[in-house]
């Protein structure tokens, strides 16, 4: 799909903003999770859980969905495509996986935040934190970032087939320049 360069740059700007924002929000969430895990102050634990719920639903989830959607748009309006290159395909799978786990995990966070709102000090001390999911999520997001920056080579079978079709349609006099 051919789009004006201005629109492509705008979409890219949005995608980068949402993606980097997602990583930053997860780091902030991790800080709250560490605080809830390590703090001995009941009010700090309570506040951390309430903040984790708010950060999750109102920052991380919107950023994740927006990053996924703008990523899909970027793949459609640039020559990279969605299924043609392994790095794009893997980044897509990882992003869908991270978003799905996030959406499935957030109700549990809400439940625990509700517990934290009403629990007494002794119960709060035993509530613990949330480190596994955001930690794993951060690793996945950093992997996606590395893939997007380095763009390791490798065509999928689908990408190769599409390229062959394109070459058959493109006269040899063009020097084989490929513009999907």
């Amino acid at each position: 799909m051919t789009v004006p360069p201005g629109l492509r740059k705008f979409t890219l700007t949005a995608h980068l903003t949402f993606s980097v924002g997602w990583i930053g929000a997860v780091v902030a969430y991790l800080a709250l999770g560490v605080s809830a895990t390590t703090s001995e102050d009941a009010e700090t634990i309570r506040a951390a859980w309430i903040a984790m719920e708010l950060t999750g639903w109102f920052v991380i989830v919107p950023l994740a969905v927006a990053a996924l959607l703008t990523g899909l748009v970027m793949s459609l309006i640039t020559p990279w495509g969605l299924f043609r290159h392994y790095w794009v395909l893997i980044a897509l799978v990882l992003t869908v996986f991270a978003t799905a786990i996030l959406l499935l995990h957030m109700p549990t966070v809400s439940s625990l935040a509700e517990v934290a709102r009403q629990a007494d000090d002794a119960a709060l001390q035993r509530l613990g934190g949330d480190l596994f999911h955001p930690g794993l999520g951060l690793v996945v997001l950093l992997t996606i970032t590395v893939l997007n920056v380095y763009k390791p080579r490798g065509l999928t079978r689908y990408g190769w087939r599409k390229q062959q079709e394109q070459r058959r349609r493109t006269p040899a006099t063009t020097g084989g320049t490929v513009q999907p």
Binding site: H85, Y86, S111, R126, L155, W160
Partner: protein, 90 residues
């Protein structure tokens, strides 16, 4: 995804061949590493006594709102400690 693929990138691994290209080495290595990591996580969870799994995320599985405090006190709390009652009493 900003820059369009360069000629070399667009061609990719084995693009000039008559047959489809093989899976790149970095993809194979990544898949192996991923499989090992998943295996390690599963083993750690089994050793730790469970308390986590895809079924925990299934719709309808709700954590009790207030009465959970007593269970939390028994189980040690935290997301990893939210095991079923029979598991937390082991």
């Amino acid at each position: 995804m900003a820059d369009p693929p360069r000629r070399r990138d667009t061609a990719g691994v084995g693009a000039d061949r008559a047959s489809p290209p093989r899976m790149p080495r970095w993809v194979k290595l990544s898949l192996i590493v991923l499989a090992v990591l998943v295996l390690v996580v599963v083993i750690v969870m089994l050793i730790a006594g469970g308390g986590h799994g895809p079924s925990r995320h299934a719709p309808g599985v709700q954590l009790p709102a207030v009465s959970v405090t007593a269970d939390l006190a028994l189980s040690g709390g935290g997301l990893g400690g939210l095991a079923p009652p029979e598991a937390s009493q082991r």
